[in-house]
Amino acid sequence: MMRHILVAVIVVLFGLIFARMVGGYVELDALRPLALDYVTRAPVELGTPNIITGILITYRGFDTLGEVAVLFMVAASVGLLLKKDDAKPASAKVSSPKVSGEKTAAAKPVLAKTEAARAAAARSAAAKANASARAATAGSVAVKSTKEAAPAEDDEAAPREASEIVRTGTEILLPLIFTFGAYVIVNGHLSAGGGFQGGAVVASGVMLMLLARPGSTLNVALLSIIESFAGVFYVGLGILGLVLAGGFLDPRFLPKGEFGAFISAGAIPLISALLGIKVGAELSVIIDRFRS
């Protein structure tokens, strides 16, 4: 009881602070000077119609780089925390390597294809939707066939099979979700979206795949390699900006192009695609760590 009164006092004090902040707040009717500077400069200097993406990737590009580093550290530390203890009985291990090894081998081309499709989508505008959809479809078919080839013969820990409706729905939705994720990533400089949002959409597609096929495994090693390379290329583009243009992560070393065209805004679409790949891979790894 005493504790509840104390908590109520704390909440009331916070409430007083917040009430003062609300009381002193008036809705803006013009932009603040810094925002005005960004809004007027970003379309002219960078050639990006979406000013938020311009701020995220260029003006606050260092922040974004630091943030994906934080995300990487979170993926690593979650893996460390949720690592299986070595004290587990050996019998459970003996049966699993055969099945999981088989699945991992089959899952590798799947993910490779999806990633390759996303990388290709970043470069060529024409074939992006088709390629990604095809790769994703091929991926889901491949996972399904392995699932059926290796029936769940694990011991009591074997997850329950998803129902017919869930599996069929996943087959229809998964290509759409991956295509939408790729679209959001590569159109970040033109419309709402960008690397973070698209990466999250792709990760939620991966989540759906894991939900519908509880037995399938994700190739975490390949995902780690992909996201490490994305990080290296991200920093490499930043250094290119330092050498060829005004500063670290300055995207103006590539031509600005026509305002509002798909290939425009210098290196912003490239950086956005790398960011999307990195965020998508890291979030997928975090989900998989929690699942296993």
Partner: protein, 124 residues
């Protein structure tokens, strides 16, 4: 049915109230998972507050296209800086939640309970 208040003030108040609800939940519960849920609620409330402070009366999204010309942008677009900050804050919020949940799972594996009353080693 009109309140006469501006849009952003209403949502600012909502965000602060949600943050207060989250703080209340974090401080009253003894179950670690409930504390983390309270943290997630508080997080959402503070995101709402930050985006609300960037709103401009009758503003539109800062994306230049057919509906918003370059010349108009300075007078009609909302403040893009809070939006850009909140996009990163959401991702970091998920990361912090994930680390907390990983610790919760480890603590449960150690003591087979989630109540913080059972974890007395670190008390002084």
């Amino acid at each position: 049915m009109t309140t006469g208040l501006p849009v952003s003030t209403i949502l600012l108040t909502t965000g602060f109230l949600l943050a207060l609800i989250g703080i209340w939940g974090m401080l009253t519960h003894r179950n670690i998972l409930r504390i983390i849920i309270g943290f997630a609620v508080m997080d959402t409330g503070l995101h709402l507050v930050m985006v609300a402070t960037g709103y401009i009366t009758l503003g539109t999204a800062p994306i230049i296209d057919g509906a918003l010309s370059k010349a108009d942008a300075a007078s009609r677009a909302i403040d893009p800086i809070p939006s850009a900050l909140v996009v990163t804050a959401i991702v970091i919020g998920l990361s912090v939640t994930a680390v907390m949940l990983a610790y919760a799972i480890r603590l449960y594996a150690a003591k087979k309970t989630l109540s913080i009353d059972a974890f007395t080693e670190s008390k002084w």
